[in-house]
């Protein structure tokens, strides 16, 4: 067995530098690597490129890095919830590459699985496909999209064991599994870190081979963006 645990978020983020490209899991604020983001804010590294489906909200998630102007470029599919983001984007301070959500997932997965690129129908005939190679298969047009290249992937799981095996909960899974192993170093933070053998191998969502460092996360806020409820009948 190969042990992947590190005992702090500081150890887990060792090696991050100005100008690097990071992948960050999560959908909205659901399943984001809260501890890693806080540490990146504290380290105040700059000129980052962040690949993440969304950009957090003004004062939480990636919004904190935007607030401190640590990010030069975002690669995302939807950024509607973030006023700082919109301001920095419209002023040209922040470079933004908006891409279809399925393409974002596929480019992560391609990086994880060793495909240099994939063909997708998403975005064909739109500005997303401008200057990209296209090809027809069975009468339908597809766009060639390249695998991402990233220095670190920061993901968050519900449970993990010391061998780096991960289990997710609910829709907090989202982009986290496809980012594992898609960067040079994958850092997983978990709500509950357990001993090897405690997780049923039948129920592992991400095998530990895709994870280089795992640590027990702390103080999860797990903020809800749109609290929608109904009353008991």
């Amino acid at each position: 067995m190969i042990i992947k645990t590190v005992d702090s978020v500081q150890k887990a983020t060792e090696g991050v530098e100005d100008g690097m490209t990071f992948m960050l899991g999560g959908f909205g604020l659901c399943g984001i690597p809260e501890n890693a983001i806080s540490e990146l804010v504290r380290l105040n590294i700059k000129n980052l490129t962040c690949i993440s489906n969304n950009a957090g909200v003004d004062d939480f998630g990636l919004g904190q890095l935007l607030h401190k102007k640590q990010i030069d470029k975002m690669v995302s599919s939807y950024v509607g919830e973030n006023a700082i983001f919109e301001k920095q984007m419209l002023s040209g301070e922040l470079e933004v590459e908006l891409i279809p959500q399925g393409t974002l997932a596929a480019r992560c997965q391609a990086a994880q699985q060793g495909f240099p690129a994939i063909y997708t129908p998403a975005g064909y005939g739109t500005e997303v496909a401008e200057d990209k190679e296209t090809r027809e298969f069975d009468g339908k047009m597809y766009v060639l999209e390249e695998a991402f290249k990233a220095d670190f992937a920061f993901v968050k799981a519900w449970k993990g064991d010391k061998a780096g095996n991960l289990v997710f909960k609910g829709t907090a899974r989202n982009f986290n599994p496809v980012m594992c192993g898609a960067a040079k170093i994958t850092v997983a933070e978990v709500e509950e870190l357990v001993e090897p053998g405690e997780l049923d191998p039948n129920h592992i969502h991400v095998p530990g081979i895709f994870v280089q460092r795992i640590f027990q996360g702390k103080n999860y806020e797990k903020r809800i963006e749109q609290r929608t409820v109904r009353q008991k009948d």
Partner: protein, 218 residues
Amino acid sequence: MALDKNGIAKRIAKEVKDGYYVNLGIGIPTLVANFVRDDIQVEFQSENGILGMGPFPIDGEEDADLINAGKQTITARPGASFFDSATSFGMIRGKHVDLTILGAMEVAENGDIANWKIPGKMVKGMGGAMDLVASAENIIVAMMHTNKAGESKLLKRCSLPLTGVGCVTKIVTNLAVIEVTDNGFKLLETAPGVSVEDVQNATEGKLIVEGDIPEMQL
């Protein structure tokens, strides 16, 4: 009387058939789930990673780890499943989802759709919309017939950046049900109290009217 948002959702719910897996977009499409007959088997997919989406949770039972693509707290129905984003879009790209219902800012008479960007004004992003419209074969657009300025949203050509080309099959608005054909918008039904002329006046693109047009049954 033109329909309100719930009226549009109610009419679209009639397009949801037994055994369908359905992806609902944000806005009016989300309301469709409230009107689907309860004697048929239907599963709702949300592209952030759930099949078998249920209603909003009872107050106090909301879970931060269980949301839909609109970031709203939801519940999971018995038989539901969770999955990662690549698997989710695999379902969509692989045409395993039977029906996609989404909103739009503009639809053109050739089936082009625009719903993600107003240059210089609003850029929220396409989210999953480009993947959905590029792959789904059965795409219904739910929207108001005109924008806030009173201008038609059913156009000869979209003026905004496109989300997808030649993909919309049906449009349900506050005024009408319209099919997108090779020759243009074909009027299928009018909303209660709305005349063919009203629809014609609110439609910039080519509107095909053949024979008597029935009124929507809601």
